[in-house]
């Protein structure tokens, strides 16, 4: 069950980054001139309608996409719950994914899966090795009052919020169906981790676009999966939306008899085992789309 209505994200960028020794928000990442914050925001913009970046007032921030909005901690250095409050106050969405700005491998499917798991009026939070991750969680926008009252009571631990709302803990096994390496939960805390991060390769995020009958079966027009090749991505799609098998995709990722797979709505994929790039779109096409 998930809440209907616009999906948003709140990215907390106002931390002091003490262990990193420099501001995480402006760490260089990706293509020349890119930053870690910019990368996280772009990933989120692929899966939500509204992104709010929460910063300290006066904090230098990198250039970000024009549709990103900003909010500022009214009391600084009080931790993530205070940042979440600012973000929830600013959002135009009905529920938001909360993230730090130091998650270089945040997978789009991971974010979508948490939205999908969100109970009515409640929270969906990633859980691994016995820990819940408040900055890998989806909150209803109207939790703003709960956050405010917790802070007023001097309670600053985000985890306390979970007592106030119905909460679904999405465990590791489920998360690995959308993010096999659980890379979304890995963040960068210090300079050593940052240096090492450059040599890590994660599976590309692939957008699956569904039309006609496939859209109906999956109950959505598109969604993200992780997969190195079209076959792997399609197999991941079946794991996410089992109703696609077998009439659209076989469980091993082979398209059904009359289906083809178009890369980005242009050419059709001939070699299902050829490598894909991060952000590629696979459009599932029924060749009998006529009449």
């Amino acid at each position: 069950m998930s809440i209907d209505g616009p999906r948003g994200a709140v990215v907390l960028a106002g931390g002091r980054s003490t262990r990193m020794g420099r501001d995480k928000a402006t760490l260089p990442w990706g293509p020349a001139g890119g930053t870690l914050l910019g990368h996280v925001v772009r990933v989120l913009l692929d899966v939500v309608d509204d992104v709010v970046v929460v910063a300290r007032s006066g904090q230098p921030l990198p250039e970000l996409p024009a549709d990103v909005r900003f909010a500022y901690d009214d009391v600084e250095d009080e931790g993530p719950l205070r940042g979440l409050l600012a973000g929830l106050r600013a959002t135009r969405a009905s529920s938001v994914y909360a993230s730090g700005c130091d998650t270089p491998w945040l997978r789009r499917a991971f974010v979508e899966a948490l939205f999908d798991a969100q109970p009515d009026d409640g929270i969906a939070i990633a859980a691994s090795e016995g820990f819940a991750h408040p900055l890998a969680a989806v909150y209803p926008a109207d939790a703003v009052d709960d956050v405010a009252s917790l802070l007023a009571a001097g309670r600053r631990r985000p985890i306390d919020l979970l007592e106030r709302r119905t909460t679904v803990r999405v465990d590791e096994a489920v998360l690995r169906t959308v993010d096999p390496e659980l890379a979304s939960l890995d963040n960068l805390n210090d300079a050593t981790a940052f240096e090492a991060a450059h040599t890590r390769h994660v599976l590309p995020d692939v957008r699956i676009e569904l039309f006609e009958r496939a859209r109906q079966l999956a109950g959505r027009p598109h969604g993200w999966v992780s997969g190195a090749t079209a076959r792997a991505a399609l197999a991941a799609a079946v794991r996410r939306w089992p109703a696609l098998a077998p009439s659209v995709i076989a469980s091993d990722g082979t398209p059904a008899r009359t289906y083809g797979v178009s890369l980005g709505g242009r050419t059709f994929v001939r070699d299902l085992d050829a490598p894909l790039a991060d952000g590629d779109a696979l459009v599932l096409v029924d060749a009998l789309s006529g009449g």
Binding site: R213, T267, F268, G291
Partner: protein
């Protein structure tokens, strides 16, 4: 294994009825079993009979021009989707052959009148309805039906004659001989090529049929078993899209692929596609209704409520032609326009295509009175004016885009998007280049029901943005498949339910008719049918020069959408057409060499120097 008979033992009656509307005379003639075997029924039989009955070079609207209603051996059997008929004539829009299918109980009644085909020639002295009542046929005055929609005329005739009769007739557009007028029964239209105008020129409001000669079945038990199995498969996943969404679901996909013709084929994607998508129509709160053609288990027809609460039948082609093609994004306008086309008896594709042409002419200063792109009210106002030829603009556009462009003058010709005079369906040729070939060579003009070459484009089998000669074989295959389905006749929406169409068709025909059929024979029959239509066109003066696309598609890059900039060159299309002729066994001018005619069993027809035959 059955052995060949000498007269029909099932399926066919072996009889055609010839009607001369001028004199009112009718008589029945046999159709040789050999002919029925060779052409099966439907469009195949209709094409063969047209070749025989149409005087060479006849004006399609002259009394001598025949219009043929051809049935198939499966009509009246329990096989799902088989209650269909083909109407075949020389088209007033293309001046080549046109054949259109419709599904209706009318097909069963006509078949039960003991006929495989009705061949109507002449012109009635006054507006009439042809009444086929079993073995008897008569003309009835229909002056009181003039000006009515086919549906209203049908209702009035049912009130008069009782429920046993079924009607197939024309609306206002047919009465005014609009060369893209339809004929319909129970709201289902034989849509393309202006067959309604042929009826209109004969002052034939329609045909009323009733019969009680049940279709003879050679092996009833086997037919029932096959029918049960086919019905079961018709309810499976292969047809689920049609049952649950209908063809309206194509809008979003074709838009995503840059293949949704927009603003008179200038662009391949519509900025408001999501407003006019099938999903958007389905999401409307007003209740929707699903309908079935007679004898169909699938039921692909989705009726949507318009503002007046009327139920409107809507297909992809209606949305594309009356929406994006005209730049119209208002769902209510599209529904109202589709309802108006149905009511007036206008082919939605040609109506939308001709109005989109006029809109572009307006933009270019060539037609100041025409509406602009996006002017939904202007589009709605035009439809009845076209159908009634009510004023100079309505009369001009009633001629179809090719003829209207000719009358306006050369600058307008660039904007007339047709093949052989028939407006293009909703498949952008530059984005679907196997389909470009299918559209260019189609005997009845640009058409998506006689060529399914888009299936090749929508697969990894070939690159849809390249005009390579390798596409020809695939184009031939899909065209042959369509020819077989349209001659059997079973619905194309059933095609995915067949594992091996020829094999299963052979089994069905054998059980129904008692005649032995092999899959190879049926594959050959399909090729024979396509070649016969070709021969008719060549005889009527069409040439290889007609197997092309308008300059727009060969000179302008596609704008907008995922394949913006896609180009189709004249040379590329030419090479595909040449390869297509070769794959068909025709010569480089698209004529039929004697050896090919012989191989297809057509050597009884005139040979060289006849226009269709090469030396």
């Amino acid at each position: 294994m059955t052995t060949p008979g000498t007269t029909p033992r099932g399926g066919w009656h072996g009889r055609r009825r010839l009607v001369d509307l001028t004199t009112g005379a009718t008589h029945d003639e046999p159709i040789a079993l050999e002919t029925l075997r060779a052409f099966v029924g439907g469009v195949g039989l209709g094409a063969r009979l047209l070749l025989e009955h149409a005087p060479e070079g006849v004006d399609p609207l002259a009394p001598e021009a025949p219009v043929i209603v051809a049935l198939s051996p499966l009509v009246g059997t329990p096989l799902t989707t088989s209650a269909k008929l083909a109407v075949v004539a020389k088209s007033p829009l293309t001046r080549g052959i046109t054949d259109a299918l419709a599904s209706d109980r009318f097909a069963i009644e006509l078949k039960h009148a003991g006929l495989d085909a009705l061949v109507v020639q002449g012109a009635a002295p006054r507006w009439s309805v042809l009444v086929v009542d079993g073995p008897t046929t008569r003309l009835e005055d229909a002056q009181d039906l003039v000006g009515l929609s086919a549906l209203d005329a049908e209702q009035r005739l049912r009130d008069r004659h009782g429920e046993g009769f079924r009607f197939f007739g024309i609306g206002v557009a047919g009465e005014h001989r609009v060369p893209y007028a339809t004929i319909s029964g129970d709201g289902r239209h034989a849509g393309r090529g202006g067959l309604g105008a042929v009826f209109g020129a004969k002052r034939l409001k329609g045909i009323l049929a009733r019969g009680d000669a049940a279709t003879p079945l050679f092996d009833r038990e086997r037919v029932v078993a096959l029918a049960k199995d086919l019905s079961r498969r018709s309810l499976g996943e292969a047809t689920a899209k049609y049952r649950t969404l209908g063809t309206v679901a194509n809008v979003a996909l074709l838009d995503r692929l840059g293949a949704l013709p927009t603003r008179n084929f200038r662009e391949g994607s519509f900025e408001s596609a999501s407003d006019v998508s099938g999903e958007a129509f389905h999401a409307e709160p007003a209740p929707k209704v699903r309908k079935h053609c007679a004898a169909c288990t699938i039921g692909c027809e989705h009726l949507f409520a318009d503002k007046q609460g009327r139920r409107v039948r809507l297909e992809y082609e209606g949305i594309f032609a009356l929406g994006p093609l005209c730049g119209v994004s208002d769902r209510d306008v599209i529904l109202a326009a589709a309802a108006a086309c149905d009511d007036l008896g206008l082919d939605v594709i040609s109506a939308g295509g001709t109005i989109a042409f006029a809109m572009e002419c307006r933009e270019q200063g060539l037609l100041p009175d025409a509406p602009t792109f996006g002017d939904g009210q202007g589009l709605l106002d035009l439809l009845p004016r076209i159908a009634r030829r009510a004023d100079p603009l309505g009369d001009l556009l009633a001629a179809g885009s090719r003829e209207a462009a000719r009358r306006i003058g050369p600058p307008a010709q660039r904007f007339a998007c047709h093949v052989k005079g028939l407006e293009l369906p909703g498949y952008e040729p530059r984005a679907l280049q196997a389909m470009a070939l299918g559209l260019a060579v189609g005997a009845r003009g640009a058409d998506h029901n006689r060529s399914g070459a888009y299936e090749v484009d929508l697969s990894a089998a070939s690159d849809r943005l390249t005009a390579d000669a390798g596409k020809a074989v695939a184009a031939v295959r899909t065209e042959d498949k369509a020819a077989l389905l349209d001659s059997l006749i079973v619905c194309k929406f059933l095609r995915a339910a067949f594992d091996d169409l020829e094999q299963e068709a052979a089994a069905m025909l054998e059980a129904v008719t008692g005649e032995p059929f092999t899959p190879d024979e049926l594959a050959e029959a399909a090729a024979r049918i396509v070649t016969t239509k070709r021969m008719f066109n060549l005889r009527e003066g069409l040439t290889a020069a007609d197997d092309t696309l308008p300059d727009r598609f060969l000179e302008e890059p596609l704008e907008g959408g995922s394949v913006a900039g896609a180009r189709l060159t004249r040379e590329g299309l030419g090479a595909m057409v040449a390869a297509y002729y070769a794959a068909r066994g025709w010569d480089e001018a698209g004529r039929v060499p004697p050896a090919r005619a012989r191989a297809l069993g057509l050597s009884d027809l005139p040979q060289h120097p006849y226009p269709w035959a090469s030396a």
